[in-house]
Point group: C2
Chain length 784, copies 2
């Protein structure tokens, strides 16, 4: 990285003038002449065969223009595949609209298109769908029971993925002889990633370009294009996906949605624009959910507190369908591969399973299994510390990886990080604020203060190698960027990543402006248009700055080379005698000799006959970037202080300290925003949110009355401290900061709660930890 003026600075967000003044354009802001509105007839049963679908009455509802079933639209299924031989994986098809069978309450069965959303809703009520109901499978126990009803007939059982990995030689002996073996069983609640903006799409057929234009709210525009074109049997170029401003995604929008394909199909059939905006009820119950996992893990420790082995069993309830492109394998494979985390674990065995149930399907929500397994591992360390009489920070200190690169028992090589440093600093920050003293004082008053930590790393910069390890059929590794300069010396950066709140318009521009020695006001990011770049994998897995940003920097560097070459040719000197600063090329030996970028662009475009014959006209450069190592690892330690309120069982977070290391922080303010938002979501998972179902598979949290989302009142201010261990594997030195907050929070919060509960002898390992649970634990103590 060149010595930068902007990278590393909290440059003001370039998105904000637009967004804060209400000039953002979200999908629901789009209005096209003649636009129709769609709603979906959805299954009212969790499991059943569709006996009949009768839409004839729907078509007579005033304002309704059309109503289609899957067969009417001749739609191909969305089928996520694992590519390399993995005998343990059973692929299942997700029809765009349910055909023969429904598998969850809320599953789309038919689409109704009307002149407005009200008429479309009226149309839904006229639909007659009859089902032959089947017994619903609503829990892990039900799914795995012998003779359980099959969610997918094409699968012989309800387990779609079942892998057993690593199984270090002699692991059973290690456990048998270990001085200390601790065990944690943990269930994590089903959650909704809950972007502020629900899903939505506006699709229309463009006769001029012979393209179906799908303006949709997605993190993965090219992947939506690929799936839509295949489902609709169009050449891929005949689908253009354009993404407007987005109000969050968090993974719920990094998989391809059925409704966006169905709405596009209706627009194609009707040759009229069709809009669909998901309402909150559907968003809560019929969208992609996340997180429901069941861990049974034991850890062996030596008397000195050094970990000797991990033995784990993970079951992930993926719901009714395997999402595209990640498949039902994403969660168990992530947990299985990466569970040893920041610790030097000498022996490891894991079984990971994905099961299918009659609940809404899941998508990889921010952190993807890591919030769960980190929580379990951190609970194991806390428990071992108690058993061994060690300080919970000290036991971690004895086990975190300190010699890098480190190749783990899980065959993953970790690049340098500040595991120990972040742990020590986080503890010191908590100490320095006197929380240990406050805890003691509170205890003396009969109050319940607890202090908890979580130390973790997060693999980011997933390139081809890492995703190929995941055995995915599509390997979202590389990214492509184009950087072009126009005759005014202004630069447009095009990327295949897709900001849905991550401030890419700011951070990508910082990278380019520094690389080219340019005022950031002259740099503009263009994203979210599949016509503008051949392929991009979108934004997920903290990959945008690590992978996308690296491609951006490489492309900018290539453009810089061309600027230098043109200037050098004009001056008759070598290109390396030219430097780029302040929007101009300058001779190193005589900095009064200047060619501004406008001057160079004038030659490159408008007077190209002046170019040397070996330099082509134009000022554009494209670069691809991929990571052919195991990736790079961000890390952090979170420290939390909670107080449990005896009367209400409420968990109040008194202090939250985050020491994070995402390598080079392109824009610290943006990183802090990511941390704070992630921590809020992690706290939500630890203490508040849960999607529950009754025995018939009916979701019981379909509004914010029932799905408890923490507000600013429940979320504490967070002290953030940055460490910086630059990555050698990315062009920016950055490591990715999108998910870390979410990963650390549940573990730290749960450890703090358990620390506060220590006098009670109760330990809580499931999330969310509700006031009822805490109240019961505290009042057991009171009763004893």
């Amino acid at each position: 990285m060149k010595e930068g003026k902007l990278v590393g600075r909290s440059v003001a967000r370039r998105e904000d003038p637009r967004l804060l003044s209400g000039r953002g354009r979200f999908v629901d802001d789009i209005a096209l002449p003649g636009m129709l509105h769609a709603q979906f007839v959805r299954s009212t049963v969790a499991h059943g065969e569709i006996a009949s679908v009768d839409l004839s009455a729907v078509r007579h509802v005033p304002g309704v223009v059309a109503a289609f079933t899957a067969d009417d639209l001749e739609l191909g299924d969305i089928t996520a595949q694992l590519g390399r031989p993995l005998s343990e994986y059973v692929p299942t098809a997700m029809p765009v609209l349910a055909r023969d069978k429904v598998r969850y309450v809320g599953e789309p069965v038919a689409i109704v298109v009307a002149r407005d959303a009200y008429a479309a809703e009226d149309g839904l009520e006229a639909a007659k769908v009859s089902y032959t109901t089947l017994p619903p499978v609503t829990s892990e126990e039900a799914a795995l029971a012998p003779g359980a009803p099959l969610v997918h007939d094409e699968a012989a059982r309800n387990t779609l993925v079942d892998v057993s990995l690593f199984a270090t030689d002699g692991i059973d002996e290690i456990f048998a002889s270990a001085p200390c073996v601790v065990h944690v069983e943990s269930r994590t609640g089903r959650q909704n990633a809950l972007p502020l903006e629900t899903r939505g799409v506006v699709a229309h057929w463009d006769d001029r370009e012979e393209q179906l234009v799908v303006q949709t709210c997605t993190q993965v525009p090219h992947q939506v294009r690929t799936v839509a074109s295949r489902s609709l049997r169009l050449d891929e170029r005949a689908v253009r996906v354009v993404v407007p401003d987005m109000g969050g995604g968090f993974g719920q929008k990094c998989v391809v949605g059925r409704e966006e394909i169905a709405a596009a199909a209706a627009a194609l059939r009707l040759r009229r624009p069709v809009k669909w905006i998901e309402d909150r009820k559907d968003a809560l119950s019929a969208s992609f959910l996340a997180r429901e996992q069941h861990y049974q893990v034991r850890a062996a420790f030596g008397a000195d507190g050094r970990i000797l082995g991990l033995d784990a069993d993970v079951v992930c309830d993926m719901g009714a369908y395997s999402c595209y492109p990640f498949t039902a394998g994403i969660e168990p494979l992530m947990a299985s591969a990466e569970m040893p985390g920041v610790y030097k674990v000498p022996a490891y065995r894991v079984r990971g399973r994905a099961i299918t149930t009659n609940k809404a399907p899941t998508a990889p929500y921010r952190g993807v299994s890591r919030p769960q397994y980190v929580m379990v591992v951190e609970r194991l360390f806390e428990r071992a510390a108690r058993e061994l009489g060690l300080d919970p920070v000290e036991i971690r200190r004895r086990n975190v990886i300190t010699d890098f690169p480190y190749t783990g028992v899980n065959h993953i090589t970790y690049d340098p990080g500040s595991y120990l440093e972040s742990l020590n600093l986080c503890e010191r920050l908590v100490q320095d604020e006197g929380w240990y003293e406050k805890q003691a004082a509170a205890a003396a008053e009969g109050r319940h203060l607890g202090i908890g930590y979580a130390c973790f790393s997060e693999r980011t910069g997933y390139g081809s190698t890492a995703f190929a390890q995941r055995k995915m059929q599509v390997v979202p590794g590389f990214d492509i960027s184009e950087v072009r300069m126009d005759t005014s010396g202004a630069v447009t950066v095009t990327t295949g990543t897709m900001s849905h709140g991550q401030s890419h318009e700011t951070t990508m521009a910082q990278i380019v402006a520094d690389e080219l020695g340019l005022d950031i006001a002259k740099v503009r990011l263009h994203q979210g248009d599949t016509d503008r770049i051949t392929y991009g994998w979108g934004t997920f897995a903290s990959r945008s700055i690590t992978v996308g940003g690296s491609a951006v920097r490489l492309a900018a560097a290539k453009l810089g080379d061309k600027l230098r070459a043109i200037a050098a040719a004009r001056w008759g000197i070598d290109a390396d005698e030219v430097e780029l600063t302040d929007g101009a090329a300058r001779r190193r030996d005589d900095t009064s000799e200047v060619l501004t970028y406008e001057d160079i662009a004038d030659i490159a475009y408008l007077r190209a006959h002046l170019l040397p014959k070996d330099i082509e006209p134009g000022l554009a450069a494209t670069a691809t970037f991929d990571v052919f190592t195991d990736g790079t690892f961000s890390n952090a330690t979170h420290g939390v202080v909670v107080e449990l309120h005896q009367g209400t069982g409420q968990v109040e977070i008194l202090r939250y300290v985050c020491v994070e290391d995402c390598g080079v922080a392109i824009n610290p303010q943006v990183v802090e925003g990511q941390c704070r938002g992630g921590i809020a979501q992690g706290i939500a998972g630890a203490l508040f949110e849960q999607v529950t179902y009754d025995d018939m598979g009916e979701p019981s949290a379909t509004s914010f009355m029932d799905y408890k989302v923490p507000t600013a009142h429940e979320i504490p201010d967070v002290l953030i401290h940055h460490l910086e261990t630059p990555s050698a594997f990315t062009e920016t030195g950055a490591k990715g900061a999108g998910e870390g907050g979410t990963i650390g929070a549940p573990a730290a919060v749960l450890n703090a709660v358990n620390d506060a509960l220590r006098p009670t002898g109760v330990e809580l390992d499931h999330t969310p930890v509700t006031p009822e649970t805490v109240h019961r634990a505290l009042n057991l103590e009171a009763a004893s």
Copy 2:
């Protein structure tokens, strides 16, 4: 060029299904939410100082939203420059809206924006503009008269360009001693290129992209972007020009229009979409006009009919302003440089002038000076033939260039063409149909049949070298193309050229489909979007297939190399052992081994980890093409048979034969369409169309009642015969076919008319040749 399956075949036009079924999208089809409509307050005087502009009443007209003068919008001028020192050129500024002075009737003075076009028209009537009128300059004589009023105060005279070129040593002696010297004085009428679709624009500000989107009807989208961004003082990237379907241009839309900039400025100011559609009255009188030139040329011949010298004086009446980017120099410089044409002219002298007058400005209409100078030169040959008692075809035969490459007295090198062959064949086709016998028989009946020919070439493939010769500040030489393939194996071709009727969607696809061995249905052209390619010069000067098509072929070839490289790597063989046919890569040594393009794309995009490390992911290639020679020359001979009707003076065209050679004809049907359309326009100039002004500079042909456009009734069927002398200077072998028809028709028609008039002794050298003129000539004969 690879052995093609499609190039050279009259593949059905891919545009037609859309256009013929009414699904084309022209600029007036565009409707945006909240769109306003603009009209222009236009000057009512030809020459005057603006004393005051009062728009206050306009703003109170119901439905009017805003009204702006140039000062209100703070617009920069449009100034076309000649770049290299040319002391004889005087640059003049064209304000987007007139400021201090008006220079022609119809000049835009203010823009009125209203909720609909009716209200906008009402608004115009409320505008109060007062002028201090100045004496109008409405003719060459008035412009050049001593003490003439100045059209542009910044110019010391009304001559903007005055060049004297070549002046071969001893030319005066050649003329003094020549056995035969003939002279032609010719004036050509002011014409309107008259695209079926008038000009128009829809502009709106896009907050999301921070771009002013200008959807406009232009042949030169990137040039409109450059000018708009400079006039509006935006970064160039902040303007996006998008061109929808177009109903013709013919050069009128290859210059930047004031109204499109003004409408864009209003949209920027109001932050609302603004549409302007030119009405036919404005299109006829206030748009860009063309063609008004005055030639005085003499030619010296030997007794054997060989030409000894040409001595020419050309004055081009460019009207009130110098157009961007071509400047007022385009017409006199074209005529001066290229007048010797297809003939071996040993001595040459020319003076070329551009004058400015108080008439609507001109743009380079199809053929650009060539219809005029070819007519003059062909008249000179006819006249010399008469004087020397030679057959008019024979005298040409003795003079046309036959040894190629040939460097002329004008320092231009001509690449191989079929000058003699086309002449001989055209004569034979006329003979074979018995027209000479019919002429004799008609004469015996007292009827007036005439046979005329024109033999000419047209420089196309103007690259950097040729345009730099024209001393233009912006040198529209190169073109850039991108060819990309998606995961379905479908190909999108992006070009900087802009079809406004030339069938590029078909011909460019033919080139690519052949190059890649692909079904043409899998290839789609994308054009007319400045965001999609860094720069393109647009479509004019018959450059699209020659320059743009060459860039397209090179890009396709690069993509083909990548497809071969990926397949070769999979098979572990050399890339040259792989061939591309029928949508797949095949091993030459075992054609049963196949990787379809979908297979290769799957690797290149979705499983890029399988690529060799030296091959980047993605399937896209960009190529630039330029011509660093003097260009390439299409050629043709036109033969025409006319009958003059004694009673009405009507010129009836009985037969039209065109033998043309545009090198490789990518699609003969398309070439024929270009020929026929061009011939119709050439005939229109020869016999029908003229924009006239009264002494006060008031245009007198502002509707189709007065501006006489020939219809299918007046335009004959045309027999077209193709010769093919491939160009060595283009990647397609094509030479450009956009303008030839227009260039040859006036000369051939005028020669035929004069042949028919031979018994009268009258010779007509001015166009249009009106029925009145012919009637007078014939009845002189009858009276004599």
